[in-house]
Amino acid sequence: MSDTHAQSVAFVRESFIPEQAPPARETGAIRWVRHNLFPTIPNAILTLLALYVIYVLLSGLLPWLLGGVWNAGSLSECREITGAGAGGCFAVLTERWNQLIFGFAFPQTEYWRPLLAFVLLFVAGAPALLPDLPRRLLILTALYPFVAYWLLWGGTILTPVSAFLGVLAGYFAFKATDRWSFALSLGAAVVAAVAVWWVGGWVASQERDFLAIQRIQSRDMGGYMLNMILGTVCISLSLPFGILLALGRQSRLPLIKYVCVAFIEFVRGVPLITLLFVANVVLAYFLPPDTNFDLILRVIIMITMFASAYIAEVIRGGLAALPRGQYEAADSLGLDYAQAMRLIILPQALKISIPGIVNVAVGLFKDTTLVSIISMFDVVGMIRGPILASTDWNGVYWELYGFAALLFFVTCYGISQYSQWLERKLATEHR
């Protein structure tokens, strides 16, 4: 090797130079800082600015958090304890904790019920939300609405039991007649369910005290519990309505299509607050004169309408994203419309729509705070109304708003992280 080169090249190195350590500024932490924080002069300026912003934020927040007072009877007591310090007056949270979470009229002895319902929400939600659990556990999810209703509103256990039996009867009627036609079995299910509900309603009205727990009026519910109730109920109700609206919008029947289009575009075109005004002051005019709908129910109806229009648009996107071949394959198998939708189209379309649905759900959950504007006492309503208006705590803004923001942040960030996890999980299954 060296011989050949010896003729043509003056010098050939015969051995490798021993490896040298890279320059100090290109290794370890220094390299990282140089490349990530100070690569160019504008970037260095940005970094310094960012550091300054962080310093300002932390220098304001840390003394406030660390020097906070957690036990005091009023703002003036807090001020006495902190003196000239910058500590926050978190005593308002300890003193008004129950009001912030449950509202001010919820009976103290019954706090265990919403708490139990909240814990059960995770038990019931798990089979639907975690794809790894056995499908059989879904029965827990199906049972949950009835249990939660009984725990929250109370009264005799016969009401939720008969409601559940009605649904069960409807399900079996559907299964029994499923062979003939979808429309027929749907009709049978409705008839069976209504019959059981009617009988059950009569029995429940006769036996008001059978296994009864204290009945709680809707207007006594408040605080973060109200946000949770509104959010959970409206999101779960708006899913089926949203699916129906999305299918209606894709329908070949012009009347059904245009009714759905008009509904969706109308609801998406107005702010939620106007719909809440409708629930508050207008809806009563359109109901029979002697009916006494309570406000929570009216609000649930309007928020559900609102959410189902948005969910319908998300699902329409999912339906449109399915390849045409899926629709044609369903047709060529000889499935009718209901079977094709139920067995082929919707399972795939819904899977595509999961991120969008979660977005709508998070947005809707945040929007439940708007009920405070029509003077319902959710967590924001409690803060703006009874707590800030009381002489003890007038002026404790940051602690209260910060707490409310933290509650929503934890919930919503949790939901969106879950959704990303689910997306990744479902995506790898296709590889």
């Binding site: 970037n43 109308f266 998406r268 005004f277 409708v278 109901l287 504007i373």
Partner: protein, 411 residues
């Protein structure tokens, strides 16, 4: 089993009622007929209830109340309004205020959102993290809470106007005016007022001409480049934009700015425009909140352009600036603009929360005080919804036109 010949010569069978359910040609009609009946039944049930309720309460459906005096004051109006003006005028004030905060909010939200979105993609670790914190904090907390927080910050900040006063030039004020023209006090922000004198149409015309000329020059540069390969300079477009309006203004002097006067008397700042705190609070809150969402859209848009595009452009010898302008941005904008416009729509709808900081938008005037004073719930809410509906449909119409114009031309 039907043979082929059966299909070739179908037997003309008469229509029988069973076909309404079993034959796909007629089944659609049956379902629509049932749906129509159901809709009519529900509508007439609601209407009948409405009539009974109206009769019981002695009410009727009429917009006559719009002419009656409103009897309430509005703290910030762009048009003349007194408490003796009609409810209709109060509603118009509300409409203008809504549009004002919506437009100002969209502009600021775009600025914030685009910078945050770009910075979140930056290689600068700390800036990217800081922007992630901003985006997540604002996206996961209700807009109402942000409006209340920022509203409280704005309400509690700002000194008394007398801190700025010089008392006829005799004393040194506690605070100076920002840039000599802005004073943020506990009453609001004092800013220079714009006053137009004679000849303002000429200045306006010069401005319009400058804008038109700006775009004409740029399209001329592009055409020359594409036709002859010769690259003309771009900077004259800025001269064309600015020069006419500056020359017209210098020649005519018809537009003048009146600064807030701190020397006029010993009690308050005189002159200038006072921008109310509710407006500032709502404007900032909506912009910062919506900016977080826009940042996500911008980030997604930029990420949607594959690196192959940038590399291909670089391989063709384009410079980084031109890669951004000619290759990345046009493709990213196609992804960014539709959700951006729907964020504008969301901002406009969220501006209906103005009532939380006491800003007199349409929801606060027509849907709030007017509704409570007159008790005309249905009329007011209907009008309110109509207003938002018109805005939404207009914006989504514009969006559809844009989408159609940038849609990929597919085979």
């Amino acid at each position: 089993m039907a043979s082929i010949s059966d299909h070739d010569t179908p037997k003309r069978r008469g229509f029988h009622p069973g076909m309404l359910l079993s034959d796909t040609r007629y089944r659609g009609l049956t379902f629509q007929f049932i749906a129509l009946i159901a809709i009519i039944c529900i509508a007439s049930w609601l209407g009948w209830n409405l009539m009974r309720n109206f009769a019981a309460a002695g009410l009727n459906f009429s917009y006559g109340f719009l002419d009656n005096p409103a009897n309430y004051d509005i703290n910030q109006t762009l048009i003349d309004y007194t408490s003796r003006s009609s409810h209709l005028r109060a509603a118009i004030v509300g409409v203008i205020n809504t549009l004002l905060v919506a437009i100002a909010g969209c502009i600021l939200a775009t600025l914030i959102g685009v910078s945050a979105g770009v910075m979140r993609l930056s290689k600068n670790w700390i800036v990217a993290r800081l922007m992630s914190v901003y985006v997540e904090a604002f996206r996961n907390v209700p807009v109402l809470i942000w409006i209340l927080i920022i509203g409280t910050v704005v309400t509690l900040s700002g000194g008394a106007p007398r801190d700025f006063l010089t008392r006829g030039g005799s004393v040194e004020p506690d605070r100076g005016l920002f840039l000599g023209s802005f004073a943020f006090t506990n009453r609001g922000l004092y800013a220079p007022a714009v006053e137009v004198g004679p000849g303002w149409p000429i200045v306006l015309g010069a401005l319009v001409a400058g804008i038109v000329g700006f775009f004409l020059w740029r399209s001329h540069v592009k055409r020359t480049l594409f036709n002859s390969g010769k690259l003309l300079p771009v900077w004259p477009s800025w001269v064309i934009l600015i020069a006419p309006v500056v020359i017209a203004e210098l020649a005519l002097g018809s537009i003048s700015f009146i600064r807030p006067d701190v020397a006029a008397n010993n009690f308050n700042i005189q002159g200038g425009t006072l921008i109310g705190k509710p407006f500032i609070a709502l404007w900032l809150a909506l912009s910062v909140y919506t900016g977080a969402f826009i940042a996500e859209n911008v980030r997604a848009g930029i990420l949607s352009v594959s690196t192959g595009q940038t590399e291909a452009a670089a391989a063709l010898g384009l410079r980084p600036r031109r890669i951004m302008n000619l290759v990345v941005l046009p493709q990213a904008l196609r992804v960014i603009v539709p959700p951006l416009i729907s964020q504008y729509l969301n901002l406009t709808k969220n501006s209906s929360l103005a009532i939380a900081v006491g800003y007199a938008d349409i929801t606060a005037t027509l849907g709030g005080i007017t509704l409570n004073q007159t008790g005309r719930a249905i009329e007011c809410v209907l009008l309110l919804m109509l207003f938002y509906l018109v805005i939404s449909l207009t914006i989504s119409g514009v969006m559809n036109i844009y989408n159609a114009s940038v849609a990929l031309k597919e085979r």
